[in-house]
């Protein structure tokens, strides 16, 4: 569902950028105005979304428990899977954010001759890690375009990324891994019948978009090269809030940039907000201390209750008959 729609949307974006530059020559629009607008949309959209979440209270104090709760001191409890303290929660969140711990648990349920079997299934975890980490490395690497002078650390990361001397200029592993991981996630989405069934255009679109960004980046580096000095001139001017778009960079760069801008704009209004959301997820970021501390619902409403008095009124004779003490005779 929606594969072709999403694919053609991305193609359309590419064409917009292509004609915008190659035919209309709108360098300032695509090089300055759209990137600024996209970045501002991204930041403000992100903030507003998180604030919107923040304005809703957390009435339930029910973190997901995946292990023994803390009870008595001589019973070992699961400090990470059923944390009772803030430090446990921090540990749980760190593992979740950096190691995708929940996905690491993943199983595959299957039927074998009438028996239900559970198999280990870590491909999603692996691909997810590869995707996110390579994306992070790609992002950090790109700081070389925004910072002048380029910090030594960025240069080091760049040379580690291009450790394998393949091609001229050296092939950067992170870009390739990103593209392959995105393609794997797409393959998984389409080949696994259950995942294909639940997928929406909103699932394919960001995959195609990111694959498009990676691909245009790879093309720009190895096949249809651009004037890298002018690119940096543009990016540094963006960072310095000066904003001047030199001509003659190469259209492929603007396609790359436009796809990134689309991603930035798309981000706050989509499932990509899981980046911020994971930190606010109440089933993960709360300690399981509801037996230690009393948590009161922040909008604690008045409710009608069945009082003891009413109860006694309903059953007074029966209670007396059973010898249960009553308040009123």
């Amino acid at each position: 569902m929606g594969i072709f729609f999403s694919f053609f949307m991305v193609i359309l974006l590419v064409l917009i950028a292509y004609f915008g530059i190659a035919a209309a020559g709108l360098h300032t629009l695509f090089g300055i105005i759209i990137p600024y607008a996209a970045f501002v949309t991204f930041c403000i959209g992100f903030l507003l979304k998180v604030i919107k979440w923040g304005r809703a209270p957390v009435p339930f104090h029910i973190p997901t428990t995946c292990g023994q709760q803390m009870t008595l001191p001589w019973i070992n409890y699961s400090k990470l899977d059923n944390p009772s303290s803030t430090s446990g929660v921090i540990g749980r969140m760190i593992l979740e954010v950096f190691c995708f711990r929940s996905l690491f648990r993943n199983l595959k349920t299957g039927l074998n001759n009438g028996n239900i079997s559970y198999a280990s299934d870590k491909w999603l975890w692996l691909a997810g890690l590869a995707f996110h980490y390579s994306f992070a490395v790609v992002l950090i690497r790109h700081l070389r375009f925004f910072l002048e002078p380029v910090p030594a650390l960025i240069n080091t990361i760049d040379s580690l990324d291009g450790f394998l001397q393949v091609g001229v200029p050296h092939f950067l592993l992170s870009g390739g891994v990103l593209l392959i991981a995105a393609l794997y996630l797409f393959f998984r989405r389409t080949s696994n019948p259950q995942v294909r069934y639940i997928s929406l255009p909103a699932d394919y679109f960001p995959l195609f978009l990111i694959a498009g960004i990676a691909l245009s980046g790879i093309i720009m580096r190895y096949i249809s090269k651009v004037d890298i000095i002018k690119v940096k001139q543009l990016t540094v001017s963006l960072a310095e809030l000066k904003g001047n778009a030199p001509e003659g960079i190469g259209t492929i760069f603007f396609i790359h940039l436009f796809l990134i801008c689309t991603l930035l704009v798309y981000f706050p209004f989509s499932k990509l907000m899981h980046m911020g959301g994971i930190f606010l997820s109440p089933t993960r970021n709360l300690p399981n201390d509801s037996r230690i501390k009393r948590h009161i619902n922040p909008w604690n409403p008045e409710v009608k209750v069945h009082t003891y008095e009413a109860y006694e009124n309903d059953f007074r004779e029966k209670m007396k008959g059973a010898g249960i003490p009553v308040e009123k005779e």
Partner: protein, 131 residues
């Protein structure tokens, strides 16, 4: 907002990361490097012409050098390139650097601007002011 302080701290961290390129460049006004062709040899030329256009060389010089390398070392094609009667050797040291004898201005400046570290100079070497 509920748990406001924590959320705001988180958002400030997010903004600090997202806008890092904007504030980290403050006070480091960056000059844009221009490959400098001001060398005695080039200045002495009537027609300033290289093996290919400057536009092409800007983007593809690494590829040109790589191809030359294979042609010369592996295929023994040491034939020279003739541009308008001027002869160029297919060589970094004995070709390019003969005219562009200002490595720091012609090579290094752009490379460091773009954060590129070619390993050419691990073997090939250049003596500044040799010509």
């Amino acid at each position: 907002m509920y748990n406001g302080s924590k959320i705001i701290i988180g958002l400030i961290i997010f903004l600090a990361i997202a806008t890092f390129p904007f504030y980290s460049n403050i006070g480091k006004s960056a000059g844009v490097p221009m490959p400098d062709t001001n060398t005695p040899v080039i200045n002495g030329l009537d027609k300033k012409e290289c093996v290919a256009s400057a536009e092409y060389m800007k983007k593809e010089h690494m590829k040109v050098l790589d191809e030359w390398r294979d042609e010369v070392v592996r295929e023994g094609k040491r034939d020279v390139i003739n541009v308008g009667g001027r002869v160029f050797e297919k060589s970094l040291q004995n070709g390019c650097m003969q005219c562009h004898s200002n490595k720091s201005r012609f090579c290094d400046e752009c490379h460091s601007y773009a954060g590129v570290k070619p390993y050419c100079w691990d073997c090939h070497h250049f003596k500044e002011g040799r010509i």
